[in-house]
Structure formats: C-alpha cells, structure tokens
Amino acid sequence: MSQKMSPPIQKDPQKRAASMRVVEGSYAVAHAVMCSMPDVISAYPITPQTHIVEHLSQMVADGATDAEFLTVDSEFSALSVLVGSSAMGGRSYSSTTSQGLALMYEVLYNVSGMRLPVVMTVANRAMGAPLNIWNDHQDSIGARDVGWIQLYVENVQEAMDATPQAYKIAEDLDIRTPVMVCMDGFILTHVYEPVELLDKERVRSFLPPYRPEHILDPANPYTFGAFADPSTYTEFRYQQCEAMVKSMAKIEKAASEFQEIFGRYYGGLIDTYRTDDAEVIIIAMGSVVGTIKDAIDQMRAAGKRVGLVKIRSYRPFPVKALKDALKNAQVIAVLEKDVSVGYEAGLTTDLKAAFYNSNLRMPIVGFSAGLGGRDITIHDIERLVQKAEAARAGIESEFEFLTLRKEIL
C-alpha cells in the first residue's frame, strides 16, 4: 500500500465545484477503471461503448495503468479472455452493449457460474432487429437471469463512482459474483458533465487489491469449468442465489463506505426522492431518473403528491427495500425502457411478484417508454402520473406503451 495520504474530502461546496472537471461520460468510466487498477482489459468496439475502451487504451499507452489491454476479434472472445485472466487471479474488465452483450451470452453464464468477479460496463442500447444504436434497457434486462449483479446508474458521476464499488462487491469472498454497471448509451456515455474525478490513491484506500481464494496455480492445481452432474449442479446454483442475497448488504455497505471516503452517495440498493408523503410513486432506473425528478418538482409545485423510487440494483432485486419504500403509496407506476414480448416487462412483473404474497395491495401499473432511444419528456411523465392516478379507481390497463405513435401503425 502506498504511504501517500489521500487528500481530505472537500466539504465546502464552492471549493468542491472548483475541483470539478467537465469530461465525457465514457472518459469518466475509463478513468474509474484505471483507478481501480485492473490487470486485464479486453473488449471489441461497438457503439456507444467504443469511447470507454478507446480512452482506456490511451491510458494504457500513456502508462497511467499497467493493465494488459487486448483488442480481440469479437465480444465472445473479449469476455472469454477475461474468464482466463480472472481465473488466474487478475482483476478483469470489459465493456459492451446490445448486440455485443447478446453475443457474450454463453460466456456470461460461464463467468458467473465459475464465480469470477469480472466487472463490465454495459452502455445500454436497444437490440436489433430493427437495427438501432440508441438507448434503452432491453440488452441488460434481457440478461437478467445470467447470474450477474446489475447496477443501474443515473448520471456520469454515479457511473464513475459505481465502478470501484462494483469491484468491491464482486470480489468480496462472500459474494464472488460478476457485476454489470449499466449506464445509458449516448445519454451518459457521450454527454459531457462536470464531475469530481476519482483519485487513484483514495480509490486504493477504498478498494483493496484483489486476493482471490481460488486461482489457477501450478503449485496448487484447481480445475475451473468442470462438469457438475445432477447430484451437485443444483447446489452450485443455490450458492449463487445465496451470494446474491448476501450481496444486498454488501451493495449498501460499498455505497456507504464510498460515501465516507468520497462524500458522494446515490443510494444503496435503491434511492428515494420526495416519497415521504407521496401518493403516486414512480419506479425507474438509469438516467431517466433525472427527468423524473424534475417532473416531480413541477408536479409538487402544482400540489400533486408524487415521489420516485430509483432502483440501483436490479439484480439482486431488492424486495425488502422496495416494500419499505413503497408501503405508503396509493398507486405505483413503473417506467421502464424494455419490454418482454409476450408478457409486460421485466421491472413491472418483478415488482408485482414481489408484492403479491404481502399485505401491500396498492395498484401497480407498468409503462414501457424510451425504446430505441425515443425521448421521455417531463410531459410524458405527467401523463404517466395521470394514468397512474386513474388506476386508483380501478386498473384499466396493467401495462402499456406510454409514448406509442398510433398514427404510424
């Protein structure tokens, strides 16, 4: 460990503003990865992830990190490389989106099943067909069940800060589960925002070096990826589920320890905004949360009691935290950027399932919006709230597309 003292947290907001720098979202993430001192980075270019790995390759070239950087032939290779490097005990990083994430699907299970604490940024983008490069959450929600922790971030600062947190959670010996940090493609990857850049020394005091218990080691041989027959397979899955349950406390802990060192906090599993006396509570993930907060402020000014619950951790799904935060709502409106073709959408059905065997009986209505990059405006959120309010008198539609252009159907 370095003996260098970390600079103290700047509590004075004015001085803090002076220490801010305007950087691209992708740069902020690359910087956070660099500060997390990875051993191996491997990726394949795909819009809108590309800038993250380009910045990283520059940082490697500049000697800012001594990570090995591999530019491979496909996403399948990129993540497979990390299976090897992580099994060797190396801190490993990748980033992808959409089609690339889909191509990784087989390897996603490999990483989680072998309990390799890889961290990957998913620059969320719509899935083709039809071909579309803009943001929604279909890609990562579609990978809901692959055994990775999924954290969704609201802004550039959070995308940066979530990265060392992700390593801390993933590498915890009680958890040993890979983490996807999901950030909205373009909206966050390509935007320039003022942020406080992480400081490498301080990250070091937050994130200890990776010390895995089981690695490939000629002196003490292990086999990774071995066969599990019906007599043991279930127990492997069970242990992964157990680790996910345990990870909830660790996600909270990582967020609060991060706050102690860096003075920034975005919620642990969830965060709430003006929910205290709220009758209508909106639930959402990712950058749209910012727009919703603005919409809530406007509606509050007009006397509407509206609040927001932001989900940071979609997997593990924070059932208890959600029930606590939502128990006094009269109606819940889920706003999500994905759809499960055939039955509603991920967050809506998860939330309804979470509440079913409980005494919480408020209506829950789901809305899909922002697919393939369509804007979600404050006006759309107001419409959603109107619809949710109407549902208090009786649910007419449990799930709908909020911003459907009926005229082009």
Binding site: Y44, P45, T50, E54, A61, T71, D73, S74, Q99
Partner: protein
C-alpha cells in the same frame, strides 16, 4: 436496364472520397449488364453485414438483407439453400468477415456454396470510427491501439485458397474497370467466389498513395493452378511496405457446390405429392 435504375432513394452518408463509391458504381453496372444478359435483377439478393460497407444495400434498389455484424454468410447460405436459383451477393467488411464472422467465411469456402462475397477491405473498422482489424498492418495506430498494433495481419486471398474457395480475386477501388470485370466473373462463377477489394477509407486509413504506387494487375497467370495462386497471394502479405500488390483474378476452378449437392436439393424436381403418397403407402 440502365445502372441508374438501380439507385435507391436513400441519402448516401459515406464520407466524400470513400472507396465504397467505386464498389457501388461497379456493382450497379454489373447488375444492369447481367440483367440484360439473362440474369434478371429480380433474381438477385444482396446480403450485407454491419459496417460502412453494409450501407451499400441501402443505395441499391435490389432485394436485400441487412444481417447482423459478422453473420453475412450464414444468412446468404440460408437464402441460397432455400432457393438455389437466386444469385446471392454478399457485401462484407474486413471486421465483419475476418473478425466477428471469420468462422462463417471459412465454412462458406469449405462448402463451396455458390454465393459471392465482396470484401470491402479498408483494413479498419470504419463505422465504429477507426479501430484496427485483422488486415491492419502491424504498427497501425487506431483508436484502440494508440501505440500501434503488434499483431501480424491476415492475408485473405491466402486464407481463402487454403479454405477451399473456388474463385479468388483482388480489386482496388481506384480501378473500376477491373472491379467490374472481377465482380461479373465472381457472380457468374459456380461456387464460392471471393473478391478482396482494397477499399480505401479516406477518413481513418487513407492508403491511396501507397496503393497507387504499388498495385499492378496480374496477367497470363494460370488461374487453375493452386500453387501459382498461392504464390501470387503470398507475394504481398498486407504488411510489407515495399512489395508490389497484385490485383486481378488469382484462382478459379470447378468443384461441386454445396447448394447443388445439399441433401434434399433434388426433391425440388420431383412430384412431392406422389412421393409423400408412396411413403404413406409404405407405412400401411
């Protein structure tokens, strides 16, 4: 038919000076010629990958299929097997067919399926703005390799020879007559035909000067000789900065094609109803 009739209404978004314009213009002329020579354009299907190259199908008023990145050839294979009477022409990139979809390229050659693959070999990922690809030379400073890549490039014609392709050629986007000739031959060839087009990407890897000085057309070569084709293919390794770069047809041989030998192909020519009746009667 006039090549102009094959233009679509889509706005062209390639960079001015991009080599893709030559490929577009050459293929338009060839398709118009073929239409007049008894290969109606209605019987042509264009298949693209994902990349700058892929936009070519938007600019041609011909049946086309935009596949996903790297999967040009599997889609083309399916189309050809479903209707072997169609002419299937693929437009793919060096990233598309030599990285993401390399396995498909080798298998298409191995099977000798009767489709044509035109490789827009700009030696860079154009659409994702300038990263190195399997044909970039060592030292190439792309956005993902600021210190220059250390890997050695692939030699696509050599790879195709080794894999079993039965028509192999190389063109250059500063030589539209040769491109037209090669495209036409490749499309009319029965079997897997591969044209490596040195397509200059003016924005991310402008090789015009180097190519203009070093390319030459091979003539009088024995295109039925594997060894001779290999020698020509190996005379430039996509790295050497001095060697001359051969263009033209390197190789062409006849061999059974997958679409004609595929089990079940013959069934199209028999009376299905009586065959089914026969089978059912056999069961009684």
């Amino acid at each position: 038919m006039n090549p102009k009739d094959l233009a679509s209404y889509a706005t062209n978004t390639w960079c001015p000076g991009c080599g893709n314009f030559s490929i577009l213009s050459a293929i338009r002329s060839v398709l118009a010629q073929l239409d007049q020579e008894g290969y109606p354009v209605e019987d042509v299907v264009l298949v693209s990958g994902i990349g700058c190259h892929a936009k070519i199908v938007d600019y041609l008023n011909v049946n086309s299929f935009y596949s996903i990145h790297g999967r040009t050839l599997p889609v083309a294979t399916g189309i050809k097997l479903a209707n072997p009477d169609l002419k299937v022409i693929c437009f793919s990139g060096d990233g598309d067919s030599l990285a993401e979809g390399l396995d498909h390229l080798i298998f298409a050659a191995k099977r000798n399926i009767d489709v044509t693959l035109i490789l827009h070999d700009n030696r860079v990922y154009g659409l994702t703005t300038g990263q190195f690809t399997p044909t970039s030379p060592p030292g190439f400073k792309g956005k993902s390799t600021p210190l220059g890549t250390e890997e050695l490039p692939m030699n696509p014609p050599e790879l195709m020879l080794a894999s079993g392709a039965t028509y192999i050629a190389r063109g250059y986007t500063h030589g539209i007559d040769l491109l037209q000739k090669l495209f036409k031959e490749a499309i009319l060839h029965q079997g897997f035909s591969f044209v490596d087009v040195l397509q200059v990407c003016v924005t991310f890897f402008n090789l015009y000067e180097s190519y203009n000085q070093r390319t030459y057309e091979v003539k009088d070569n024995d295109t039925s000789s594997f060894d001779e084709a290999l020698k020509i293919a190996r005379s430039w390794n996509y790295d050497d900065h001095e060697a001359r770069i051969p263009l033209g047809k390197f190789y062409q041989v006849d061999a059974p094609t997958f679409d004609r030998t595929f089990p079940g192909f013959e069934i199209r020519d028999v009376d299905r109803d009586s065959r089914i009746k026969e089978v059912l009667e056999g069961l009684i």
